[in-house]
């Protein structure tokens, strides 16, 4: 199987690619994932540009058009608010601009808290699993202790200590979400650690940190990605729960979670107040699911 001069020459041009380059190529070829990314980008862009797109401010109250349907609403409604595409809420604020402002909070919380939990959870879990023994036991007992703290109690203490603030929301949610991630990653690492290619890397002189980052983490990506897509939606819902308790976002600022829980109260009289935020959230979560699936497939070379 000795290569001839000809093929050697042409193969000289083949550039080495890493898993990540290959993964990007495969992700780009995945239509569902790409559609998801584009829609998410669109929603994010709309959220950022909201003040420019709408003539109304998010906190502009108008008592003349309380809970009015948009003009095009097909069903009989008590009142109509021309110019408000999504209608108005129970104090007459424009729903479109509120949904877009809510997207800012929800997407930011969803992404940042998930990324934080991903980063801490994966590194922590992979380290504990790979090092094993006493260190593993110690690290995982810490996780158990944190698990046992009641979440709401934990958030209230944070709020009391550091005053109520938006950043704290990320910290509180991230601090809880990474625990599950760490457990999942640790379990996966334990099984990957037994694989021969890890031993081969050790025999090749690769250090423990490089083994964790180059061999362990790329191989736990599958289950991690599935869990990440679940986390994003979970985090967005958690935020609305905290806001409902008065621990999260405060009026007149809003989030999808808050809008949905408000809308649910008015479901019978003003269904659009539930419909539009719920629609945005559902589309977003759908997109995250497809992107997550796409990432998982892209990072698995066996998948074509």
């Amino acid at each position: 199987m000795i290569a001839t001069g000809q093929t050697l020459k042409s193969s000289e041009e083949v550039q080495g690619r890493s898993l990540w380059v290959d993964a990007r190529r495969r992700l780009v070829r995945n239509r569902a994932a790409m559609a998801g990314i584009i829609i998410l980008a669109l929603i994010a862009a709309l959220a950022l540009l909201a003040p420019l797109l709408s003539p109304y401010a998010y906190n502009e109250v108008n008592y003349d058009i309380i809970a009015c349907a948009p003009n095009w609403w097909p069903v009989e409604a008590a009142c109509r608010a021309p110019g408000h595409i999504f209608g108005t809420d129970s104090v007459g604020r424009d729903l479109l601009v509120r949904v877009l402002f809510g997207a800012r909070v929800s997407l930011a919380v969803g992404l940042v808290a998930t990324l934080v939990s991903l980063l801490i959870g994966v590194l922590y879990g992979a380290t504990a699993g790979y090092l094993g023994g006493r260190i593993d036991a110690l690290m995982m007992r810490l996780v158990d202790i944190l698990y046992s703290l009641p979440f709401v109690f934990f958030v209230i203490i944070l709020m009391v200590l550091f005053d109520r603030n938006f950043i704290l929301l990320f910290v509180a949610i991230g601090a809880v979400e990474w625990l599950t991630m760490a457990r999942i990653v640790r379990g996966q690492t334990l099984s990957i650690k037994q694989k021969e290619f890890i031993e081969a890397a050790r025999a090749g002189g690769v250090g423990p940190f490089a083994i964790i980052t180059r061999h362990v983490i790329p191989n736990v990506v599958g289950p991690v990605m599935v869990y990440v897509t679940l986390t994003v939606s979970g985090v967005i819902l958690t935020e609305s729960f905290l806001s409902f308790l008065g621990l999260g976002i405060q009026e007149p600022l809003t989030s999808w979670g808050v809008l949905i829980s408000d809308g649910a109260d008015q479901m019978e009289t003003a269904p659009w107040m539930l419909l539009f935020p719920a629609l945005f959230m559902a589309v977003t979560l759908f997109c995250f699911n497809y992107v997550g699936d796409g990432l998982r497939d892209a990072l698995d070379p066996k998948d074509r």
């Binding site: 050697l8 080495g16 290619f197 081969a200 890397a201 090749g204 002189g205 250090g207 061999h215 790329p218």
Partner: protein, 587 residues
């Protein structure tokens, strides 16, 4: 004599996402009552699918066409009910892996009697009695107790015997044995083959023996069919196939097997000692529950040897003898419990972790499973470059790239393949990747841990030739670990035989194979099947009875030194009986 099974023009096709695979092409075969037909072929030749198709056991995406007749009655496409009455009753099967083919949650007795109660409506007591007789027949000790055990409580050889008992208890006409001994050690393989031979001669059962191993086929088959890429390329009597092969592929298969008269001794110059291992011990604590004290499993129990530059030391032994543990302890991949490992005069115990990592440039390892030892998510080019990057981090990228390409063409891989993933390559190609990764840092010693055991014979021969070439070019020292005595013979200058973590015999290769002194070595050598039917038929086998004793048993070491059984802590000593020929004490 009418045929028992007659297959004519059988075709098997599989629908896969990538298109159709024609797994068996127009196969014909006949099995007469009481005869053994050997079907040989390498992996993927369709030899297993042939029989699965005939008895309606194909995977859901497979289709079979043609004809298969059992006692003149068409069974291809027959109803499941009809086939169920046949399968497990008149025609039974034995598969390769006895653990996965036994139901884990059912007791052995219940599994053996299941077929009897199903097909013959036999009352329980009678069925159990028959099961005991059957276990005695396949020589399972303490048969009454075994019936109440679960499959995981038995050893691999014992489980395969249970499978045979299950396959024979209904008094079948035909047993289809699909690689029945491939997962077993040679001494156990010899016992299983003996049982199958007895079945054939005493119970007049026909056997279809599917195997990749020409030696196994030679010892049992009356007629042989050779399969390649789904086609039967040659068929004939065992003597014709082995002594007058007509097809080029049959000749290639026979030539790929190391012969007894082959002169091994790779011509390399043997230099100064590189590695000295002195009384190496590795024990693993075995925990029995939370509060019970841990027992010590002595995987390596005091092994000493020296390896010289350019020399190949073969290490042979059966599973559980500690040969892989030995390799890992020598390479500092496992902590040792006692003894010393000295590399070029430096005691490795005295080195720090980072010193040892730097020393890894000198000693590398190639693993058994080529696919498992490569990161599935890493292109092979990156895998090969990894040790180089880890051990010489300051090398410029271009140099690394050039060295990877050079190494790839040296081991016979296309350098343009750097971006391929392990699953896109064949087993042999992946093993070349493993070799390239080990050789790229220019080691002075290479440990091959069963490096060719998972490969087909023809690929095995290529890899062995490649290892020999690399050794001749670089003066590499090799620690060649294998359970396969004939492969070890091909490569080694000296051979070390391990038994339960201790050396029982160490001698120059020629001496050991010509004149083995220790009873265990003799049994091991006699158990290796020779691809020569006349030798196999005439051979008087030295069969070890029963299984390998548990290494947890303190008396296990004295299996061959019964006179010292009174002193349980005693370890047989190595004695030099001829210059360079060491043998452990035995009775």
């Amino acid at each position: 004599m009418s045929a028992l099974l007659e297959i004519t023009g059988l075709n098997v096709r599989f629908d896969l996402p990538d298109g159709e695979v024609h797994a068996v092409k127009d196969a014909n075969l006949v099995i007469h009552p009481g005869e053994c037909l050997g079907v040989v072929g390498e992996s993927g030749s369709g030899k297993s699918q042939l029989f699965l198709a005939a008895f309606g056991l194909l995977a859901a995406n497979g289709r079979a066409s043609g004809s298969a007749k059992y006692r003149g009655e068409e069974i291809l496409g027959a109803s499941q009910k009809h086939l169920n009455a046949l399968r497990g009753n008149k025609v039974t099967m034995i598969f390769q892996d006895p653990l996965t083919s036994l139901t884990p949650h059912m007791k052995v007795g219940a599994q053996i009697t299941e077929a009897l109660r199903l097909h013959h409506n036999m009352p329980r007591e009678e069925a159990v009695k028959r099961a005991r007789e059957m276990l005695d027949y396949v020589r399972i000790p303490e048969s009454a107790r075994r019936l109440d055990q679960y499959p995981h409580e038995l050893s691999g050889g014992m489980r395969q015997r249970v499978m045979i008992a299950m396959a024979t208890i209904t008094g079948p006409d035909l047993i289809i044995a699909d690689e029945p001994t491939t997962a077993l050690d040679v001494t156990v393989q010899a016992q299983i083959l003996e049982i199958l031979r007895n079945l054939k001669s005493e119970k007049h059962t026909a056997i279809a023996m599917v195997s990749h191993d020409m030696g196994v086929i030679a010892g049992i088959a009356d007629r042989v069919q050779v399969m390649r890429h789904g086609e039967i390329v040659e068929s004939g009597s065992a003597d014709d196939i082995f002594y007058a092969p007509k097809h080029a592929y049959t000749r290639m298969l026979l030539n790929a097997i190391p012969k007894a008269d082959e002169t091994p001794a790779p011509a390399t110059e043997i230099g100064a000692p590189l590695l000295t291992v002195d009384d190496l011990k590795v024990t693993f604590p075995i925990k029995n529950g939370l509060f019970a004290p841990a027992q010590a499993l002595r995987a390596v129990d005091g092994i000493s040897f020296t390896l010289h530059q350019g020399e190949t030391l073969g290490v042979v032994g059966e599973s559980g003898c500690g040969k892989s543990t030995l390799a890992r302890a020598v390479l500092q991949l496992l902590p040792k419990t006692g003894g010393r490992v000295v590399w070029l005069g430096r005691d490795l115990d005295a080195q720090t972790q980072s010193d040892i990592r730097r020393l890894r440039e000198d000693f590398q390892i190639v693993f058994q499973d080529p696919l498992a030892s490569l990161d599935p998510r890493m292109p092979i080019g990156v895998s090969i470059a990894e040790p180089l990057k880890a051990l010489e981090p300051h090398l410029p990228r271009d140099t690394v790239r050039q060295r990877v390409r050079a190494m790839m063409s040296r081991v016979g891989l296309e350098p343009g393949w750097i971006n391929r993933y392990p699953h896109e390559l064949s087993g042999g190609q992946n093993q070349r990747v493993g070799l390239a990764r080990a050789m790229i840092v220019g080691p002075r010693m290479l440990v091959c841990d069963e490096a060719v055991s998972a490969l087909d014979v023809s690929i095995q021969a290529q890899i062995v030739a490649l290892i020999r070439d690399l050794q001749a070019q670089t003066g590499l020292a090799l620690l060649f670990i294998s359970h396969d005595l004939s492969v070890v013979r091909r490569l080694s200058h000296r051979v070390m035989v391990l038994y339960l973590g201790r050396v029982v015999e160490l001698a120059p290769s020629a001496m050991l194979y010509a004149d083995p002194r220790h009873p265990y070595t003799r049994a091991l050598l006699s158990a290796v099947p020779t691809p020569d039917p006349r030798i196999e038929r005439a051979k008087t086998r030295i069969l070890l009875t029963g299984d390998l004793p548990s290494p947890l048993d303190p008396k296990a070491q004295l299996t061959f030194l019964k006179s010292r059984l009174g002193e349980p802590g005693y370890r047989p000593k190595l004695e030099q009986i001829l210059p360079g020929h060491f043998v452990a004490e035995h009775d």
